[in-house]
């Protein structure tokens, strides 16, 4: 379903990825500095590999040889960052709706209701990001990415900045998303504990190198 071949050379880092994913929920595991975020950035189009190709369900997002490089905003890849990145000037509801602006209002409303229910965001809708706790912000970030109906959802260490108590609060929501939402997911983490609660299919990355077919 997802095929990624990418090389990227930087000053002190070299990415060498050769990955074929057939399961819906996959994890990327590796220590800090291994290149996890770099790989996600490459997939999302934020970083440009020196060579390779990226295909999702046969659609080429990037192909160095054929000179295909679809811009970020057209790749339909949802990204949940470690630092939530909620828009501070918009309410929670408007943050959620941000990625869904292209959809018809009825569809948008339905999506909002479903996600709000799934992640229990009802009481937060009118608030502004600065009023939320760390865990709440991550839930909103997750919901926002889902609302844009991406073809692939990537989560870059979403729990890393939360304490143990919050982590255990959010994990159920992640599980729920992994089980109930029919979107392929790549979950990135340096914690095997988190990963094993979500999926059995794990690729390992170390020193920029990840070769896997799972």
């Amino acid at each position: 379903m997802i095929e990624i071949v990418a090389t990227l050379s930087r000053k002190r880092f070299k990415l060498d990825a050769h990955v074929a994913l057939t399961h819906r929920v996959t994890a990327l595991f590796g220590p800090s500095g291994a290149g996890k975020s770099t790989l996600l950035n490459v997939i999302a189009g934020i970083a440009h590999p020196d060579s390779g190709r990226i295909l999702i369900d046969g659609v080429a997002l990037f192909d160095a040889q054929q000179k295909i490089d679809i811009p970020v905003h057209q790749r339909q890849i949802g990204l949940v960052f470690q630092d939530h990145r909620l828009f501070p000037h918009l309410s929670v509801e408007r943050n959620l709706r941000y990625g869904a602006h292209r959809f018809e209002s009825a569809a948008q409303q339905k999506g909002l209701e479903e996600i709000t229910a799934l992640l229990e965001l009802g009481s937060l809708l009118r608030q502004k990001p600065y009023q939320l706790s760390g865990g709440e912000k991550q839930r909103v970030a997750l919901g926002r990415a889902l609302m844009s109906k991406p073809r692939l959802l990537m989560l870059d260490e979403p729990l890393a900045s939360l304490d143990k108590r919050l982590k255990s609060q959010i994990l159920p929501y992640l599980k729920r998303v992994a089980e109930e939402v029919e979107i392929p997911m790549i979950y990135v983490s340096h914690s095997m504990d988190e990963i094993t609660q979500l999926t059995d299919h794990v690729m390992h990355i170390a020193h920029g190198k990840v070769h896997a077919a799972i």
């Binding site: 905003h73 990204l79 000037h89 602006h101 926002r144």
Partner: protein, 236 residues
């Protein structure tokens, strides 16, 4: 003492002309200045530092220099003005439009600087996040960058407005000091100081200028506070 507040119709005309020129000046430069600010804040390209220097030039030159350059370019016998006059009958000297042009040149760098600062401090990660949510770069600019850069941009707009109100050197060099057309507040004050019995009217206009400047500063502060409250992000 009372004569210091009795403004004559001529003086009100001067005030209205100054306000008109300043408002049009800000309108004319807003979009180009914000676009330039964005370019300088976000993009790197060949010739960027040249552009940066050109933009800042009016700020470091004595105002009569840009005024003279405008004359050479846009005067009736100017390189460009020649054709403007021959084919379109457009002549900028002695017109309030020319005064707007002079103000625009002098105020442009001020707005670019302030807007650039405002844009630069917008977290780029937010812009990237917006793109991953399907927002076209232009949409990112209008829905994320611009609103978050607003306090800086507002400061810039008011600075530009005030600069235009105070513009003297470039204006008098380029479009002269014509009553009702280009005689803005500073030029009027200057004219009154050159004429016997002009001290009281000059003083009245000076008081007016002070009030305008104070008003602009207070408005700028109020608007900035309001914009910041709307953004309201605590550093986390």
């Amino acid at each position: 003492m009372l004569e210091l507040v009795k403004f004559t119709p001529a003086e009100l005309t001067i005030l209205l002309l100054s306000l008109k020129v300043a408002i049009f000046c800000v309108l004319v430069i807003s979009i180009p200045a914000i676009a330039t600010a964005w370019l300088l804040a976000r993009k790197s390209f060949y010739g960027k530092s040249l552009l940066d220097s050109l933009v800042h030039l009016p700020m470091v030159l004595p105002p009569v220099v840009p005024g003279f350059i405008l004359l050479v370019l846009l005067g009736r016998q100017g390189w460009i003005g020649k054709y403007l006059y021959e084919y379109f009958g457009i002549s900028l000297a002695f017109t309030w439009v020319g005064a707007v042009v002079a103000s625009a040149v002098m105020a442009f760098p001020l707005l670019v600087r302030a807007a650039r600062q405002g844009i630069a401090q917008v977290d780029r990660q937010l812009e990237i996040a917006a793109q991953t949510l399907g927002a076209h770069p232009l949409r990112v600019f209008f829905t994320i960058t611009l609103p978050l850069a607003l306090p800086g941009i507002i400061t810039g707009l008011i600075l530009a407005f005030s600069r235009s109100l105070g513009e003297f050197g470039a204006t008098i060099t380029f479009v002269g000091n014509i009553e009702g057309e280009t005689r803005t507040l500073p030029l009027a004050i200057y004219t009154y100081t050159q004429v016997p019995d002009g001290d009281i009217p000059a003083l009245r206009l000076v008081i007016l200028s002070l009030l305008l400047a104070l008003g602009a500063l207070m408005l700028s502060e109020k608007l900035e506070r309001k914009a910041n409250r709307h953004i309201e992000h605590q550093d986390d």
